[in-house]
């Protein structure tokens, strides 16, 4: 047997502070002879006493403070959510730049001119493609492009790091 028909009465007497002084003698006699109700009484009395004491001692923050903190947090989360697509696009752009520079670097390396000096390299490239749009490219411009590529190679991982660090 796991239950007794008088459990609700016993619990009610404990919860409403009627046990033992204001409990019916008949109920008290029942509890004395019923192991289930005895267990219930021991547990419920201890629990109710503990709860009352904790509630008396409780000093929860006021509703206004809890509400204010909740609005601050909701606002911060909304701002964070709004920023997330922007951060994603920054990361995509950074990755594209890095991939592009890596592709250019690999192409240059494969064409067998990686060993020579940077200025000679670009100048030779410009001269060898006399008929191409690169024909009018001066060494100064070529150096600028090279500097840009190097800057991309250096800056892309840094930009990626900062773009993704927040997530």
């Amino acid at each position: 047997m796991i239950e007794c028909g008088r459990e609700a009465d016993v619990f009610e007497a404990v919860a409403f502070g009627r046990w033992p002084s204001h409990a019916a003698p008949e109920l008290q006699a029942h509890v004395a002879g019923c192991p289930i109700c005895r267990d219930l009484l021991a547990v419920a009395a201890a629990m109710q006493d503990d709860r009352r004491r904790l509630i008396r001692a409780a000093e929860p923050p006021t509703a206004a403070i809890v509400w204010w903190r909740a609005t601050i947090r909701a606002r911060a989360e909304a701002a964070h959510a709004a920023m997330r697509p922007m951060t994603m696009w920054q990361a995509v752009a950074g990755t594209c730049v890095a991939a592009l520079t890596a592709a250019i670097a690999a192409g240059v390396w494969r064409s067998g001119i990686a060993g020579s000096a940077a200025a000679d390299l670009v100048a030779r490239l410009a001269i060898s493609r006399a008929g191409s749009p690169l024909a009018g490219f001066g060494i100064e411009h070529a150096l600028l492009v090279l500097a840009g590529v190097v800057a991309c190679i250096v800056l892309a991982p840094i930009a990626l790091y900062f773009a993704l660090a927040d997530d």
Binding site: D39, R53, P60, V66, A74
Partner: protein, 184 residues
């Protein structure tokens, strides 16, 4: 041009719009439920400060959850379910201290020494509770401290209503035996 203050106000109202109730309704609900929830959290964690943090978190999650509540009892049970989940998450953390349950929450009562017998009973309960499984503690607290029905307990703990009677019976039997043991 929109001023910074107007933007801030708009941000605040946007944030509040994400909540399931307005501030005045929240105040009423909070005043009715905060102390029992705090008591539950303090007993389950044994740490009043942690109970404060979990209380804030519980109400935040409650406000953000867009749940249609049938009545006040449903609302209250939903809050207890959130609180129960928070305690469960805390227990899953690697360094959660299971034995802290009897500690600070007992020390927080300024009137603890007023009634010697009651104080002894409290210590006994605290000790005995540490020897129960977390789920048994939840069950017993909700049933005999909160006075929740089997349906409410099942909803709060995510269990089947049909299993509550047996689980509760076993937990109660265990705690009663532990209390008798400490009495001796």
């Amino acid at each position: 041009m929109v001023s910074a203050l107007e933007r801030l106000d708009a941000g605040a109202s946007d944030a509040e719009a994400a909540f399931q109730m307005d501030e005045s309704a929240f105040r009423i609900f909070y005043d009715r439920t905060a102390r029992p929830v705090w008591a539950y959290l303090a007993r389950m964690t044994g740490d009043p400060r942690l109970a404060d943090d979990l209380l804030q978190e519980a109400y935040y999650r409650f406000l953000r959850a867009r749940v249609a509540h049938e009545n006040d009892a449903h609302q209250r049970n939903y809050l207890f379910r959130i609180a129960t989940n928070l305690v469960r998450d805390l227990r899953r953390r690697p360094h959660a201290d299971e034995t802290s349950i009897s500690g600070a929450a007992d020390a927080a009562d300024p009137r603890a020494g007023d009634v010697a017998a009651a104080a002894v009973r409290r210590v006994d309960l605290s000790r005995a509770m540490t020897r129960l499984k977390p789920r048994e503690r939840d069950l017993l607290w909700l049933a005999y401290a909160q006075g929740s029905s089997h349906d409410e307990i099942a909803a709060a703990l995510g269990l089947k209503t049909s299993s509550i009677k047996m689980l509760l019976f076993r937990a109660r039997q265990r705690l009663a035996a532990l209390l008798r043991e400490t009495d001796r």
